[in-house]
Symmetry: C2
Subunit: 261 residues, 2 copies
């Protein structure tokens, strides 16, 4: 298993001797796994992106599906991503981030900050579901091509009502942060900021016209995106081969017919 893909992480493990995490996620898309990857990358945590290894090293989509269907796991995940951390097998993106936040200072330790960070993450997760459902309003087991007319109707509602509602919410959270508007929670970066970056990045890819219209209304959120993007380890990750591109297979998909000013 080729664990030390990143320089930052190679240094980190050499210094700290942390145990190596295994991320299990679809190998060809950012998807929900990307929220976990960003946290692992920013924190400089050693991890293996298991399904992206060579097949003879246990990688590949088939091995991932096989692992998901394994009858041996007493705490099976419903779907990827899941994180193996020693004996723990943790499923659900927000739950993985809750774990990483506690262990690697990616969220406040005290209860109110821990819960507030998690609340924001769960609201981002709700947003992500709606972003996804724009192109799959009739369900995930049917092709986009078989629900294009319905997607168009849902996209209108999304661009007009839901997208501004969610973006406005996170702008408001930044505005009201008594410790300044640099980050969502207090004065330090949390996993929720990393996830907010990813959502903005994805929306810009999927809805470029709509984002050009809306962005000026959310200056603090756009500034947060820039701030996270410039963090040294995030910046290094984004230009590395470990960062997969956006595509028409993931959550954020660009179909011109679903976008609009």
């Amino acid at each position: 298993m080729d664990v030390f893909v990143g320089v930052a992480r190679r240094e980190h493990i050499a210094e700290g001797g942390l145990s190596v995490y295994e991320l299990h996620y679809w190998p060809t898309i950012q998807g929900r796994g990307e929220f976990v990857r960003l946290a692992l990358e920013h924190a400089g945590i050693a991890y293996a992106d298991v399904a992206r290894e060579d097949e003879h090293q246990g990688g590949g989509e088939e091995a991932l599906i096989e692992a998901l269907q394994s009858k041996e796991l007493i705490t099976p995940p419903f779907a990827p991503p899941w994180l193996k951390a020693g004996d723990l097998v943790i499923g659900q993106t927000a739950n993985i981030l809750l774990f990483l936040g506690r262990k690697h200072a990616l969220a406040p330790n005290e209860e109110s900050g821990m819960l507030w960070t998690h609340q924001l993450q769960l609201t981002l997760a709700d947003f992500v579901v709606e972003i996804h459902d724009v192109h799959h309003p009739l369900g995930v087991t049917q092709y986009y091509e078989d629900q294009r007319a319905e997607a168009k109707r849902r996209a209108e509602e999304f661009r007009g009502k839901r997208m501004p509602k969610f973006l406005n919410y996170f702008e408001t959270v930044l505005q009201r942060n008594p410790q300044g508007s640099e980050y969502l929670v207090g004065s330090a970066m949390t996993y929720a900021d990393l996830s907010a970056f990813q959502v903005i990045d994805g929306l810009r890819y999927a809805f470029p016209k709509r984002m050009r219209t809306l962005s000026p209304r959310y200056p603090k959120l756009i500034a947060l995106h820039e701030r996270v993007q410039a963090l040294p380890r995030v910046a290094a990750y984004l230009i590395s081969p470990r960062r997969l591109g956006f595509s028409k297979e993931g959550i954020f998909r660009h179909y011109g017919e679903l976008d609009g000013e």
Copy 2:
């Protein structure tokens, strides 16, 4: 504010002097607030269901919307439900349950059990989103009547693929529990069991035909529903006026045209 609606809770506060929680949720539906109500009721926690108070006591839908739009809260919720617990204002259903689980022994304290319980809750939350979206595939801001044909298509996929997939998952979790199949996590009840009860209850209301066909395949899950329903405080709650009925306004809606064997 009329806090002591239930006998169990009146006794509890008299004994323990716990601070009184405020649940804020839409006053006329079970909705997502019901997952919180079940946890509060089962744990015998004193709480006020604020929006269901009289209007002159701060109740009602308008007051709820006003509170949601308040500019004073530095940690605003995106939507109901939220729970006020002393100085804390906690939003997102699963996050509220995470908090209650820690404080009131509704989940294991140690990390692996805490995370596993939360993972199950988040998977139930995903299921709830899909159950809701069956009757609103084109979005929440349009009426059901304006998306009936699309709802019918989505319902077919849901009944045929997604519903068995989720139900089978929770049956598997019960089967694999090394401490027996009475509860989802270990040998004691958690908030995830209460939520699983509510999901099964709602599915039986919304899709009675389909549930009659599917139930024999998930005997442990059906037994869990019966077990939770028979818990003294849950049983008392379910026949009390505090338990709202299912209706065509909530998550679980019965439209004959969306059901089928």
